[in-house]
């Protein structure tokens, strides 16, 4: 065990030394090979320019290499594979896509994903906003925010265990050890095996993600709320606007941009949601989602074609957000 950790630390040291050697070495080489010291006239300017053109790429190079191999190339390769058969060898045209759109499990996963897409960002963002507003009004607001933010640090799998325990089921007549069934039976109903009841179970899985993401929404929105000019709120108060009016007519419009950002960020997380479903039900009881379906086709059935097709469909769903993000940043870089 100690050896393993030492191995990891050695890897860190080697990687850092290699990184530094690369950056320092290439810079030194560049200055050495294209030195302006022993040349004259226009050569000086030419060499200066050449150095200035090359140096940025030396800095950016390793990062670009990494993202090209691990992210850019795979996007195209996955696209290619989605038109090939199970083993990635025979071209099959749109067969995989036709399969997807006629497969009932795929449709169910897509519909479930749609449910996740609507419910999770909506609940997390609105709860986050409400809690942010409330927490700004009490002296122990920071402690409250810390506690509500805490699930952000917990893994999806850890959260799945926590909530599976909340939803756990014991037969009728026996004392329930899960909180949900304990409350349910205390209200006079029969205990339910929640995880196995379609649609209710999907919702219960969504709750887990809402539990995690609300803290994120709260922190971001809380910062945005603080940014509302005090005069604006003051003016509203003087005009006699109630707190509800202030909330809907001033706060929400003022932080609208941030709400959109939070909403889209959570949307991206939701589209990729895998761990929660994998750990809780593994897609049983009609809770399947696309990311888990993709995992099943790829790693259980070993079907490159269908796995890739589902990945591409997830990618297509993310694309509008990607384009919007890029536009935003482009405007920003352009003005910088």
């Amino acid at each position: 065990m100690v050896q393993q950790i030492l191995g990891a630390i050695t890897a860190v040291v080697i990687a850092l030394v290699a990184c530094f050697a690369y950056f320092w070495g290439t810079n030194w080489l560049l200055d050495r090979l294209l030195s302006s010291d022993r040349v004259t006239g226009s050569d000086i300017i030419r060499r200066d320019r050449a150095r200035n053109r090359i140096r940025p790429w030396l800095f950016v190079g390793p990062a670009l290499l990494f993202v090209t191999v691990y992210l850019v190339y795979p996007v195209f390769e996955t696209l290619r594979l989605s038109f090939y058969d199970k083993y990635g060898q025979k071209f099959v045209g749109f067969d995989n896509y036709t399969w997807a759109f006629t497969d009932s499990v795929f449709w169910q996963s897509a519909l479930n994903n749609l449910g996740w897409l609507v419910i999770v960002p909506a609940l997390a963002t609105s709860l986050g906003l409400i809690i942010a507003v409330l927490a700004d009004r009490v002296w122990w607001g920071n402690i409250a925010k810390s506690l509500i933010f805490m699930p952000m640090a917990i893994s999806f799998v850890g959260a799945a265990v926590i909530w599976k325990f909340v939803y756990t089921y014991r037969g009728p007549g026996i004392e329930q050890i899960g909180v949900l069934n304990a409350i349910w039976t205390a209200l006079g109903f029969d205990p339910q095996a929640w995880i196995t009841i379609p649609y209710v179970n999907s919702f219960l899985l969504m709750i887990i993600l809402v539990w995690i993401q609300t803290g994120f929404a709260m922190v971001i929105l809380s910062a945005a709320l603080r940014g509302i000019p005090e005069e604006t709120l003051e003016a509203a108060r003087i005009d006699g606007a109630s707190e509800v009016r202030q909330f809907f007519d001033i706060m929400i419009p003022q932080v609208w941009g941030t709400i959109v950002v939070v909403w889209t960020t959570i949307t991206i997380t939701v589209l990729k949601v895998f761990d929660i479903v994998y750990a809780m039900t593994n897609g049983e009881f009609q809770t399947q989602v696309l990311a888990n379906l993709m995992y099943r086709w790829m790693f259980i059935s070993g079907d490159y074609g269908r796995g890739s097709t589902i990945a591409i469909i997830i990618m297509l769903a993310v694309t509008p957000i990607m384009v919007w993000n890029i536009r935003r940043v482009r405007a920003e870089v352009g003005t910088a």
């Binding site: 065990m1 393993q4 950790i5 990891a8 890897a11 530094f20 200055d31 053109r53 140096r55 800095f59 390793p62 990062a63 990494f66 691990y70 795979p74 390769e77 409400i130 809690i131 409330l134 927490a135 009004r137 607001g141 933010f149 805490m150 640090a153 917990i154 893994s155 799998v157 850890g158 799945a160 265990v161 926590i162 599976k164 325990f165 004392e175 050890i177 922190v219 971001i220 109630s242 707190e243 509800v244 909330f247 941030t258 950002v261 939070v262 991206i268 589209l271 990729k272 895998f274 750990a279 995992y295 790693f299 589902i310 990945a311 997830i314 990618m315 993000n325 890029i326 940043v329 870089v333």
Partner: protein, 394 residues
């Protein structure tokens, strides 16, 4: 939202100061949310240190009260009977040697009848005679005729025991269930994958923030686009690539090096974006005066920008560490679920499958897996929040 509706009625009514009611509502509703959000985690922690027998039969919120459970024991064999005062008697203790701290509340001769007779009472037996059971488990069964049964009849009883807390669950999961090994595996994956991308990203971010070159905007745009590319896109091609490389060199395709590199690459877009934003905000004058003094970009970066960017580097390091520690998918695909390499999240999923109802083990294992992120989170929350704000609101 309704709480706010009541928060400040425009016209104050009568004797109550209008603020007071609103204040109480704000406090109460916030308290409600906080309780709702922390309750599940507290349940996990409490359950992980409870005695396994108590955990299995009572809710964790009753952990501090006496727990009762239904159980059963056999009366001693007929051969142990003695004759006393003209009656045949069998004596013994239902709880046995381990029952020292337990108390029987009631008993009966069938499962349905378990609450039929309170401790100290007497009930009739099917094999004849009367049985009396005391709270401490001692029983006396006497009959006017000799006992002839084979195999002691069962007595069903409700036993109460005081709350018991133990660290045995942790001992059990750390060694027997392999959580200890997985903890080391998670560290092995997380440390290099957190450190390696920082330096690569920092150089790239500096170039994108402070060097002017054709293709700069395009590079930034591509990087930003890549932040949201789903991991699922990368898995299949990379796995094929790894298999090809491993086949060519005759090595194992699934290993730590592969995971380190994958995590490094997946973390880079966000790292570059965060660091670039931060570095671009550093004062221009410092850079320019350093340039005029003849400092090279390399020198400016290593001696000025890197130290100044420490908060952003820390933010990213925390993000990356949490994300890797909590990751399941990448580790599952590139490292596999073999016993010696599986990370904590993977092990936890396996446990959910094999030990689905052993909540004392599951809760202890889960707590071990979340303790590291929680420590990181609570001790470095400032940097974490700063990073979140820089990463999304721009």
């Amino acid at each position: 939202m309704t709480s706010i509706a009541v928060a400040q009625p425009m016209v104050s009514r009568g004797r109550f100061p209008r603020i007071r009611i609103g204040r109480i509502f704000v406090h109460a509703s916030l308290l409600f949310f906080v309780a709702l959000w922390t309750f599940p985690t507290v349940g996990l922690l409490v359950s992980s240190i409870r005695d396994r027998d108590q955990l299995a039969v009572s809710g964790w919120w009753t952990a501090l009260t006496n727990s009762t459970r239904l159980t059963t024991a056999r009366v001693a064999e007929a051969s142990t009977q003695v004759q006393e005062n003209g009656a045949w008697v069998i004596k013994g203790n239902l709880l046995g040697p381990k029952g020292a701290s337990q108390e029987i509340e009631s008993f009966g001769i069938t499962n349905a009848d378990v609450r039929g007779t309170p401790a100290g009472g007497t009930t009739a037996m099917r094999d004849g005679g009367q049985i009396t059971v005391q709270a401490n488990g001692d029983y006396v069964w006497s009959s006017p005729t000799p006992f002839t049964y084979t195999g002691g009849p069962r007595i069903y009883y409700v036993v109460g025991s005081p709350p018991r807390f133990t660290l045995d669950n942790y001992k059990a999961v750390l060694s027997a269930e392999g959580i200890g090994q997985s903890f080391i595996n998670s560290l092995t994956v997380a440390i290099p994958s957190t450190v390696i991308p920082i330096m690569i990203a920092a150089f790239a971010a500096y170039a994108l923030a402070w060097m002017r070159f054709p293709g700069r905007t395009l590079t930034v745009v591509v990087i930003v686009g890549l932040i949201v590319v789903p991991l699922q896109m990368s898995l299949i091609p990379l796995l094929r690539l790894y298999n090809d490389i491993a086949g060519a060199f005759g090595v194992e395709a699934k290993g730590y090096v592969g995971v380190w590199l994958a995590h490094t690459a997946f973390g880079l877009p966000l790292a570059i974006y965060l660091l670039r934003n931060y570095m671009a905000g550093l004062p221009r004058e410092i850079m320019e005066s350093a340039r005029i003094d003849g400092a090279s970009h390399f020198k400016i970066f290593t001696t000025m920008v890197l130290p100044l960017s420490f908060p952003a580097l820390a933010s990213f390091a925390i993000f990356q560490f949490l994300w890797i520690w909590n990751d399941l998918l990448v580790a599952l695909v590139f490292l596999g679920a073999q016993n010696d390499k599986v990370v904590l999240t993977g092990r936890l999923v396996n446990l959910l499958g094999t030990r689905g109802d052993n909540w004392e083990l599951l809760t202890a294992a889960a707590f071990i897996s979340i303790i590291v992120p929680l420590i990181v989170f609570f001790s470095l929350q400032r940097y974490f929040v700063r990073g979140l704000l820089a990463g999304s609101v721009k």
